[in-house]
Amino acid sequence: MQNGTGNSRSKFSGEEDVVYEVYQRCLIIRLNGELDHHNAVRIREEADKLIDRKNIKHIIFDFTATSFMDSAGIGVIMGRYRKVIFIGGKIAVAGVNMAVDRILKISGLYKIIEKFDNVEAALKAMQR
């Protein structure tokens, strides 16, 4: 998905890079770009591979650079929640903008996940 040719390529299509980082047993998913059904398929696959391989317990979704999200995003979060809840894992969201916040509120997800201002705050809380 990386756009190796760089410079003057346009970024219109919303296929921006999702970035994954692992700190101890915590996975940070930086959802850059648009999170719809089209992109969700790929994110789900990539995340689950990492969750299994790196023995992940907690997951932080970083929405700082998310330009769009619909109910497919809710599906991605719920799906990961179901994967880690059995081993006592937690899900957090960070960098939530107003549009994403409204969707998370309406979905009722805030009953099972916690919101933090930024990834650092979420990491600190999870590693406690």
Binding site: S13, D36, H38, R44, A99
Partner: protein
């Protein structure tokens, strides 16, 4: 700009067109001078309807999706039409959290989001014939929520 403006977009049932369909509606709705929030609402609702046509209506098989939009008197009407499998029980389909495809990690919140983000939502469907979703939203001065 108070006169009527109308457009119809027909496109292939492919997931990469979800983003395209949203962009088209947003570019058209822009003529009503919406706020960023109103634009985000419309994009989300349209994304839900188009995604449903692709994964439920056509079950990821080839097909055509039509999107019909009218701007008139400060209101946007969006119709998303597929000729897919149709919905047997519309009332049940519209229940929050109901989904026929949990294996795809569908949350069953598509119709709830369309209702939450638009002023009105109407669903027509016939088994084996297809589904039409009609959504309306008043833009600008007349805030809906």
């Amino acid at each position: 700009m108070s006169d009527k403006n109308e457009m119809v977009l027909e496109f292939d049932s492919k997931s990469q067109n979800e983003s395209f369909a949203r962009t088209v509606v947003a570019a058209f709705a822009a003529q009503l001078d919406p706020t960023i929030e109103e634009l985000a609402d419309i994009k989300t609702a349209v994304s839900e309807a188009v995604t449903n046509s692709i994964i439920h209506g056509y079950c990821d098989k080839p097909g055509k999706i039509r999107m019909h939009c009218i701007l008139e008197n400060g209101e946007i009407m969006v119709e998303v039409i597929d000729e897919g499998v149709g919905i047997e029980n519309i009332a049940k389909a519209m229940e929050p959290l109901y989904t026929s495809r949990p294996e795809l990690e569908r949350s069953g919140m598509g119709f709830s989001f369309m209702e939450a983000f638009m002023d009105s939502l109407e669903v027509k469907s016939e088994l084996g014939k297809g589904t039409t979703v009609i959504m309306k939203k008043r833009i600008g001065k007349y805030q809906s929520r």
